[in-house]
Symmetry: C2
Subunit: 360 residues, 2 copies
């Protein structure tokens, strides 16, 4: 099989970590008789430097011509990057919002997993995480406050800013279905998170999710208010299987959940549309402070590549091989600095990529 993959190396540590993921993809392709055909795409700060904008229409067209896109990270240091002197619509993250909308990537999957081997890095006490946890945050990615009309204007001499949060039942239904489909392949539990005691959009969300739930009688479903969910993630993360939520709540809760694992450098993510196409990227940011030092953890990106094989190419065996290789290298005691602990062997970005490759 020929895999046509768009590659956005991105900003900060992006180029380093993507290079290792490509190395691993090439290895797995070699072993299983596939070929990877990469198209380099510019986005974020790297695109601003060349084109003056974070994402050009040509890049979007090129991305659409690929089967999937692998991405490093977008953005820089808001305090020091010259990009952050630009108006908001020209900043690196604007490219991220634009590509999500342009490619209709409405379903954002963010696993938050406590790795047994890395329990030491988890900020929670052992009695809470005993036995580990493994949840999937399913975040709606193309609606809500992120894409509503907004306006800042003077009203009676007072500056006033307005954002709007809109969802229609079709947008809710398609993400809910994805959430339940994923739950069927997991532990068959969906926690739908909203703020239905306040928001109209949340009341519609809850209604539609309850309708969709009827088509999945095997799945246990519960509604949880977003403020309560923010508490429960800290109090008892083991209770969750799939968390299904809208865009802004998903942004906040997925980041909280990833920090609760203690190993954000390990967490992959996928953003999918109605087809097999997907954008795959690590959950963490561009970490400009350590860029170019060869110490960033490439595992999240490598696991994102595994998600890509699984979701966009249906290559489950190949994805399993990558995940097994990652597990093996961790078991053998190799760690990048972010997940380092006593008695383990500290290695750099490239060495980590090499070791995972060798284990495939």
């Amino acid at each position: 099989m020929n895999l046509k993959i768009g590659v956005i190396k991105g900003d900060g540590i992006g180029p380093e970590i993507v290079t290792e993921a490509m190395k691993v993809l090439d290895k797995v392709a070699g072993v299983y008789g596939h070929t990877c055909d990469y198209t380099q795409l510019l986005m974020g700060g790297a695109s601003i430097d060349v084109h003056g904008v974070p994402l050009t229409d040509e890049t979007i067209a090129e991305a659409k011509a690929c089967d999937a896109v692998l991405m490093g990270s977008i953005g820089g240091d808001a305090k020091t990057s010259p990009w952050y002197k630009l108006e908001p619509s020209k900043r690196p993250e604007a490219g991220l919002l634009k590509i999500r909308k342009a490619l209709n990537l409405f379903a954002n999957l963010r696993p938050a997993v406590l790795y047994e081997e890395l329990k030491g890095a988890c900020p929670l006490k052992e009695e809470i995480t005993e036995g580990g946890f493994d949840m999937m945050i399913m975040r709606e990615l193309t609606g809500g406050l992120y894409f509503g009309e907004r306006k800042t204007e003077e009203i009676d001499g007072v500056m006033t800013a307005k954002d709007s949060l809109t969802y229609n039942e079709e947008e809710i239904r398609r993400i809910a279905k994805r959430g339940f489909d994923i739950a069927m392949k997991r532990r068959k539990k969906v926690t739908s998170v909203d703020k239905a005691n306040v928001l109209d959009s949340s009341r519609l969300w809850r209604k539609v999710v309850e309708e969709v739930a009827k088509d999945y009688p095997e799945v246990a479903v519960e509604n949880m208010l977003v403020d309560n969910c923010a508490m429960q993630l800290v109090k008892d993360p083991k209770q969750f299987d799939v968390i299904l939520t809208e865009n802004m709540f998903g942004d906040i809760l997925s980041d909280e959940a990833s920090m609760v694992t203690g190993s954000i450098g390990m967490l992959a993510s996928a953003s999918l549309n109605e087809t097999k196409f997907g954008l795959y990227e690590p959950s963490g940011g561009s970490a400009p402070d350590i860029a170019g030092k060869g110490i960033a953890n490439p595992i999240a990106t490598i696991l994102s590549a595994a998600m890509m094989l699984r979701f966009s190419f249906d290559l489950d065996k190949e994805a399993d091989a990558i995940e097994a290789a990652v597990a093996k290298v961790l078991k053998d005691g190799y760690r990048t600095i972010d997940i380092m602990s006593e008695g383990k062997t500290q290695i750099g970005t490239e060495e980590m990529g090499n070791l995972i490759s060798e284990n495939i």
Copy 2:
């Protein structure tokens, strides 16, 4: 001094915990030569039962005639209470939103403190909380998504729900000033939380906060994105002094922070307007599952009464006396069930109130 205090006992554990707080208030008043003049006010489920609505205009008028209001908790069990069969605008929480707006309670202060004595209940590992933490969440309470226009309608045959998030510079300025004023009495650090890389309202928020900051040269101020803040609360809560944020973000982050302390039954809150008037209530909910059992922790409500003495009546000595009595009782090893640990003495709601009273 005669303290004219409105009392909303509320739902669930509300009546039990408020009774203990009144007992403590009466004791402190007696010792320091004041009198408490209480006016009982109905709100929430208790008001629905009597008047069919969660808050009547008469109750609002009576509340306004008081110097301050002490409240238990509002709401019931969404799964079983008959109140939750009512349409949203008639449910208990609607009273909460209505009273906030009617009394213009724009500044919601929620302390999140790790009590040295109760470290065992904290979900975070000891190495993270070493030395304790003590932050104050300052949440804007009368604007944003909570009070924007909302509408659910069929558009081209598709049900569509819309909420809106509006802030003007005056609303932002007054809460920011309160935040900085509080910081001046604390460790002089303000973390202003927004989502300025996406929302217009957040960009205006950031601009106004930066303007207000100029009047407080002694206060260190930083901007933090809400998703990052949700992570930092788990990773390193010690970094925070005052967190200043808008209504919805404040709802989520204050609940997360309270759970991070592990002792939500200890956390007070105050909601203030431009005058000395305030509404004081525990941070936790109505806990219908343990209502009437005499086991609820009254300390959060008792500490809310102390906040009332401090903020609405400028009775600092009296507030100190309550706080010292709480600390003493904890030090003596008395615990309600929610904060119980090995080797301590478990007592009920009333006993806890009595002991705190006796220590004043």
